[in-house]
Amino acid sequence: MSDLLRAPAEIKYAEELDWLESIDDGPKPFSWRLSPKMIRVFILGSERSDGLDREIAQKWFGDRSFVERSIVTLASDRGLLLIGDPGTGKSWLAELLSAAISRNSTLVVQGTAGTTEDHIKYSWNVSMVIAKGQSRESMIPSPIMTAMEGGAIGRFEELTRSTSDVQDALISILSEKYISVPELDSDGIVFAKPGFSIIATANSRDRGVNDLSSALKRRFNFVRIPVMTNKKSEAEIVRFRTEELLRRHQIELDVPPTLLDVLLQSFADLRASAAAAGSDDEKLESALSTAEQIGVLEDAILHSNFFGERALTAHTLATSLVGSLARREPEDLAILNKYLHGVVEPRSKDEGGSWPEFLEGGRDAIATLS
């Protein structure tokens, strides 16, 4: 595990998955490794009422019904399309689902403007074809085809980024559940094994770029993941991701909970001011998403680990916040400056704590940038 920069979910949680599999006595659809209820436990964490001997941590934060609907969709013969704004955790949910269902979350096709049908179906190893002619050996299966052959979950990231003709290659895969290889005389059809399904993700901000055809739409069940608005859950996400980050970088650093509160509060303030802003010039360019928050914290942690005194301070956090959020030279800096003087300054006088240091760090960062 340690030699991977970022281990996929099935490796990272291998032990937990093994344990869940060993105690799972629920009915399992197809060749699934876990029963739907256990998958839910794996993703959303265990409750006392689940009656498990050990605690399973929550890995994805959001409404329970989204997870349930997603699992149930995969057990039916439709594909799952997770749709939502950037930073809402669609890909993470997709990864967790495929790790729990088929212990393989790496069968991924990344949709881009340059994705071709070959990436979804198969391509040929040209030298092999020259040497041996067209055969199953000289064929390079796509991740989706591999998933079909193994009865696993294939993933398609950013479906709406790829062009319509490429998207439509999925139609026959999702309905007929096979890919025909006309180049081969015999053995020219690759059938999907039970358990195969596709989890696609799409960014709702991309709507209208490459709209899905209605034929493809009806082969997918849509689960819309909304933006997190619950402060408590957001705090949990930030905490969870930070811990993960520290583990990944093998950093021994203490993140004081008060600093986490400072970060959450400052984002909440900035979001409120963005909501109240009249024009684009009056609000930060950043969307101030949860992912952005994690980014700020990550930046601060890394900075204090490598350049600081191996302890996260409010000063570093403020520097990182200003550095990450100031993207446009005069506008963003002006807003942050206003925020520091109008909100943080009175607060540091009233509440004290980490706020005075945060204020100082913010001022220094702005002074450096402007």
Binding site: P36, E68, R69, S76, R78, K217
Partner: protein, 956 residues
């Protein structure tokens, strides 16, 4: 029940729950490591149940919109047949309940007050609503009590007046929610707003008042919202429970929520006060009628059943004094309600009341309990089940569902209930299949690309979801989730999304209707009078009415009603498509969009104000007219409306007199344009329709003449008075002049007023010149000369456009000046430099468009007359004002002035000669004869006539 029996009864209860107590004590010790708060809570719960169950007057705990409560109630009423039913509902609403039979449920009982006395005036109007649905326990109790001979229904909760007396706003400026529920008026949905901004009261408000508790229950129950939790964990298990189980479980839940609710102290106090109130009332009733408590049934929310106030029970203390009501006059009526309105008002999940109604219908069928129904209850067909609900009756089979388990042998109903897994309905495939097919059809109708494949997927997904949530049978909520998963894509094609479609399918939103007989007299009167239109006015939606009044004169009455409704009711109730009502005009044909059914609530609330719409309109007009803020213009509008809609000369005269008073007291001229417009219109109307003018309008003109004359000089100099207002004053003075003079006004007053006016503003100066011209103090030539002067003087040139604006406004009082204004504008175009002209042009256009909409056509017509019609004619065209200098200038040259001058010269010839010498003029004196006027020659020729005329003039 005798005293001994009661004691025995209570003892039995003590024993009954002893075992449970023991188990709970043990449980508390196990979980909390010793006796502590947990133990006291757990045992307190049992004490509460024990106390409520042991009460000699049978308490029947209910929860609102709970079909299980309703079924249990029906069953209990059939079994017990109580003689008196006490109900937790505002006591002053009692007389209305019999009217429920004329309505299609859900409707709401409303108490309404506009005349507020004893409350802050800004609270007005006060409104309390108590919605009644068919699937509710309270309806069962009402129907039983009203339709069974010899049974008395007594409402015991505090009156509507007390609802506001105990309102939190009185003591603190807190949120306006009353104690009995949070009115949520944020719902934008039209149906959800059916209750308006009334405060809702409801029987059996049962919900954790402790957010963390609710969250915990939802999380562990694997449900999304409170309604679903209730449905899953109370409703279904209790569906088939016997009476004792039902009662004990409800007591327990009430007690649980009560004990685990720190809540806000005000709310707790109000709740306790209500309990004191109800028990005091019940004891009063028992004492007054001598009824045996054993023959009574007290229906209240489970929350109140677990009460610990001292007044609780038949033997409770009598220390509570009910405060008197305020002097506010309350009106009562029934208003239509809807499931969506109830959900919005009481913060329930969307669709939950509809689902409760569906479950009720199903339970009635399954349990074969015969529910009570008011005889002749309207809207029988409304309970018709949808296709999806027509499942076959289900058998019951045990299924696993998590319930708080207490490991102990059963010795009482409660322990049994808590221990055993609840009984669930067996999976009914046919019903689910029916739903799946139905939702796909509904989705298709709403623009979704749904097909049979989707129906299959919905069916499959519902079962999978239910399995995942530990349910043997998909609940309507599982089905809803499944439908959303399989059918909803990235966009919603129509007006409704799949979630909403499922809600509609599950019984949908039912909108109640108040039947004709239950309507207030005003509303009935409106319906009667609109009957000739042959419209189904009770129905919701817009209906088109065509009124051919010329061929059917009786429709004139309907037209009158519609116009008044348009005036009084919210926008959209009655909307004229064709036809208008102006003074002195007779309608021939009209067409209307009428939506009386949709706005039934507004019509009923109108009924609280009077017995007929005419009366209400008269009251409103009077209120407007006698308002301290009223201006002459608003009062005149009221006069006009009284004439238009009520055709009431009496009211018009009364309000007109009021207008006179208001006008004399006014010191500003802000309303002058409006006053002028309205008085002109009314005058025109009275002149054509009445033999003589009403005295008030004569006085009004007289007073107005004097009034505006007085204010004119100030208005001319006052910066706050606009040109338009001053021009309207002048308009009043000039156009009413003949009438005013005939009534004894003096023109000198006007002349003096004009003479005293010295405006500084160019536009007002122009207005003054126009006025002087009208009065004959300034000739057209002088006016023209002044304008030329302005144009010639580079210092004042930039102000010229503002003079023009004044002239344009002057067309109102002096319409004869039109040609001159055209001339002035043309000159401006011809002679103003571009730097002045161009910036001014937009101002001219906007002024003409906004301020002078009625003046522009005048100008255009005049311009059309003066300017050549065709382009070739333009070259030869000379403006009339340039072509006619001689004819106008000549006659004035040799006038009386000349005579007087020459007379002076003749009288002092020496002076003249001296001046002539000085100037080097060498003239001679002409003979006097040549200067005799022509008239003198005539007199010389007819001396007799001249003599006679002289005698006449001198009065000799």
């Amino acid at each position: 029940m005798s005293g001994t029996q009661q004691e025995t009864h209570q003892e039995t209860h003590q024993e009954t729950f002893e075992a449970l107590r023991g188990q709970l004590r043990e449980a508390a010790a196990t979980f909390a490591d010793g006796p502590d708060a947990l133990e006291s809570i757990l045992l307190g719960l049992v004490d509460d149940v024990d106390r409520a169950a042991g009460e000699p007057l049978e308490i029947f705990p209910v929860c609102h919109h709970s079909p299980a409560s309703a079924i249990a109630m029906a069953r209990r009423l059939r079994q017990k047949q109580p003689k008196v039913v006490y109900l937790e509902l505002c006591e002053d609403m009692a007389p209305l309940l019999t009217e429920l039979r004329n309505c299609r449920l859900p409707v709401a009982v409303q108490a309404f007050a506009t005349d507020v006395d004893g409350f802050p005036p800004e609270w007005s109007p006060l409104s309390v609503v108590a919605p009644v649905t068919e699937a509710s326990a309270e309806y069962q109790a009402i129907a039983y009590a009203l339709d069974t001979p010899g049974v008395e229904l007594v409402l015991v909760d505090r009156s509507s007046d007390h609802v506001f007396q105990w309102d939190a706003r009185r003591s603190q400026s807190d949120d306006p929610a009353a104690d009995a529920g949070e009115p949520d008026t944020s719902a934008a949905d039209e149906e959800a707003a059916l209750h308006g901004d009334a405060v809702g009261v409801e029987i059996g408000d049962l919900r954790p008042r402790f957010a963390e508790l609710e969250e915990h229950l939802l999380r562990h129950g694997k449900v999304r919202h409170w309604s679903e939790w209730w449905h899953q964990y109370v409703e279904l298990p209790l569906g088939d429970g016997d009476h004792d189980t039902y009662r004990q479980v409800m007591f327990l839940i009430g007690s649980l929520f009560r004990r685990l609710a720190p809540g806000d102290p005000h709310r707790v106090r109000v709740d306790e006060d209500r309990e004191r109130y109800m028990w005091t009332r019940m004891r009063e009733h028992l004492a007054a009628t001598g009824t045996d408590p054993a023959d009574c049934l007290y229906v209240c929310g489970a929350f109140h059943a677990a009460s610990r106030v001292e007044e609780f029970g038949v033997h409770g203390t009598d220390t509570y004094r009910i405060s008197p009501r305020t002097a506010t006059t309350w009106q009562y009526g029934l208003i239509p309600s809807s499931h969506a309105a109830i959900e919005a008002q009481f913060g329930l999940a969307a669709g939950s009341v509809s689902i409760a109604a569906t479950v009720w219908a199903k339970n009635v069928k399954r349990t074969r309990v015969e529910p009570y129904r008011l005889e002749g209850q309207a809207g029988q067909t409304g309970t018709k089940k949808t296709k999806a609900q027509k499942g076959k009756a289900q058998k019951t089979a045990p299924a696993t569902a998590p319930a708080p388990a207490t490991p102990a042998p059963a010795s009482d109903k409660l322990t049994g209930f808590l221990r055993q897994p609840p009984v669930l309905d067996r999976l009914d495939e046919t019903e689910l299949l029916g739903w799946s097919v139905e939702i796909v059809r509904a989705a298709r109708r709403n623009g979704y690309l749904a097909s049979t494949a989707d129906a299959i997927a919905v069916f499959e997904t519902s079962i999978l979801l239910a399995g995942m949530r530990d349910r043997a049978k998909p609940t309507p909520y599982d089905f809803q989730d499944a439908a959303v998963t399989c059918i909803e894509k990235d966009t919603v094609p129509g007006r409704r999304d799949v979630r909403r479609l499922v809600e509609i399918m599950m019984g949908g939103d039912r909108i109640g209707k108040v039947g004709y007989d239950a309507l207030p007299p005003l509303a009935r009167d409106v319906h009667d009078r609109l009957a000739p239109l042959n419209l189904k006015l009770q129905q919701r939606g817009v209906q088109r009415a065509l009124l051919d009044i010329a061929s059917r004169p009786e429709l004139q009455q309907c037209s009158d009603v519609l116009w008044i409704l348009r005036y009084l009711m919210p926008h959209g109730t009655a909307r004229p498509i064709m036809g208008e009502r102006t003074l002195g005009e007779r309608p021939i044909q009209e067409s209307w969009d009428v939506a009386l059914g949709t706005h039934q609530r507004a019509l009923i609330e109108l009924g609280y104000e009077g017995v007929s719409i005419e009366q209400v309109l008269e009251q409103r007009l009077r209120r407007t007219a006698y308002d301290p803020q009223a201006t002459a213009a608003t009062v005149l509008k009221a006069v006009e409306d009284a004439t238009l809609y009520l055709r009431s000369r009496r009211l018009a005269d009364e309000l007109g007199t009021r207008a006179l008073e208001v006008l004399s007291a006014e010191r500003s001229v802000d309303g002058a344009p409006e006053v002028l417009r309205r008085v002109r219109r009314l005058l025109a109307y009275y002149r054509t329709s009445e033999p003589v003018l009403p005295p008030w309008i004569e006085s009004f003109v007289k007073t107005g003449y004097a009034h505006y004359c007085t204010l004119l000089p100030t208005a001319f100099t006052d910066d706050d008075a606009t040109v338009r207002q001053v021009s309207a004053m002048l308009g009043f003075l000039f156009s009413m002049e003949s009438l005013a003079l005939s009534l004894g006004c003096d023109r000198t007053q006007l002349e003096l007023a004009v003479a005293q006016s010295h405006p500084r503003d160019p536009s007002k100066t122009a207005l003054l010149w126009a006025a002087q011209q009208q009065l004959g103090h300034l000739s057209r030539t002088d006016l023209r000369a002044r304008c030329d002067e302005l144009l010639a003087n580079p210092m004042v040139l930039p102000a010229y456009p503002r003079y023009l604006s004044g002239f344009v406004q002057a067309l109102e009082p002096v319409p004869g000046l039109t040609d001159f204004v055209v001339e002035a504008v043309s000159n401006a175009f011809a002679r103003l430099p571009d730097t002045v002209l161009l910036p001014w042009l937009p101002t001219l256009i906007t002024t003409l468009r906004s301020g002078g909409a009625e003046l522009a056509p005048l100008l255009i017509r005049e311009a059309g007359r003066i300017f050549p019609g065709r382009l070739p004619a333009l070259d030869a065209w000379v403006p009339p004002w340039q072509a006619q200098p001689e004819p106008e200038a000549v006659p004035s040259a040799a006038g009386a002035d000349g005579d007087r001058r020459s007379a002076l010269l003749v009288a002092h010839p020496a002076t003249c000669d001296a001046v002539a010498d000085l100037l080097g003029c060498d003239g001679t004196w002409a003979t006097e004869d040549s200067h005799h006027p022509a008239g003198a020659a005539l007199a010389g020729r007819h001396p007799d006539t001249a003599v006679a005329l002289e005698a006449l003039l001198t009065g000799a």
